[in-house]
């Protein structure tokens, strides 16, 4: 069941979910196994008719293996309310903690397109198809995805724009620096 306020974002506007550089959760599934990890190193690569993203995935992560075999993943934006969850899934590995997702309170639901599980409580989601680039993956741990579906919590993102200033503070996105220190996305300003 999709969460309340889950609303589609047109693909040509989907870059706006990630453009401000928040930390993301990366989810993937293969053969009945699902994993979720945190990544601060995710970025828009292209927009318009060919929305694409990059994300750096360490070779030690189980999520990376699932992506390499399934060819699908999702990036999603956790909130200030999900700080502990974000650090938890970014620290513990499914390799050594099989019940990692349950322990960190991760609740999943199915993406409407993309054949990938999404994390409830986030405020933006990008379902991606892996664009295989073996050299980048091996040499740099760098993965490229074509965005095939995008959604947002319409309390904080609607008509193509973030609306943090009129929503609860707990729904703001977060930006990791190091060692569990984050910045919350701050005030909107117009040039």
């Amino acid at each position: 069941m999709t969460p309340a306020n889950f609303s589609p974002v047109p693909l040509d506007k989907s870059y706006r979910l990630l453009n401000h550089g928040p930390t993301v959760l990366v989810s993937a599934r293969h053969g009945g196994v699902t994993d979720v990890m945190a990544a601060a190193w995710a970025c828009v690569l292209d927009y318009g008719q060919t929305p694409r993203v990059t994300v750096v995935l360490d070779k030690a992560t189980h999520t990376r293996e699932l992506i390499e075999t399934s060819g699908a993943f999702a990036l999603q934006l956790p909130t200030r309310a999900q700080l502990a969850l974000t650090v938890g899934v970014g620290t513990d590995s499914l390799h050594t903690m099989p019940d990692k997702l349950m322990r960190h309170g991760v609740q999943l639901f199915e993406a409407p397109v993309g054949d990938v599980p999404l994390v409830a409580g986030c405020v933006g989601w990008l379902a991606c198809r892996l664009r295989p680039e073996p050299h980048n993956q091996q040499a740099y741990d760098l993965f490229i995805g074509d965005v095939v579906g995008a959604w947002a919590n319409e309390q904080v993102f609607r008509t193509g724009r973030w609306q943090f200033d009129t929503a609860p503070d707990d729904l703001r996105t977060i930006h990791h620096v190091a060692g569990g220190q984050f910045f919350v996305t701050g005030a909107a300003v117009q040039a």
Copy 2:
């Protein structure tokens, strides 16, 4: 002359300048020509002993040409006080506006290492050597740089950490969404 409060950042901590996903200015120089552009699509690629960054540079930009010929560039973090400058250098091209930098009030100084000009008034700087990857550059406009020098304004970044909460608000970094709308880097929170 380097600006006041310009202070070196150890290379193994340099990723912390970019980890929270701010919008950057990209500077480069070749044959006596200097250009500066804005880029929201810049990201950490690696840290520790091999600090690296990615940045997406459209084929239409003059800055990209300068980087391809010189093999050097810098990423630097503009502040809330530099919103207009950031949008200005991100909108106008040196191709059609030869005095672009002067018009937008860009003041430059020389990086201590890296043979690249830096933009005054920013709060973090990463001097990079281009790591040629022709396929990425052609197919995705994606450029990889090895970080060879890093500096920060010690009013806002010292002992390896951002200290926005104790500095003037005008020195906060900024995160572009679209159409000149930015978010300021907000409150620090610890998981």
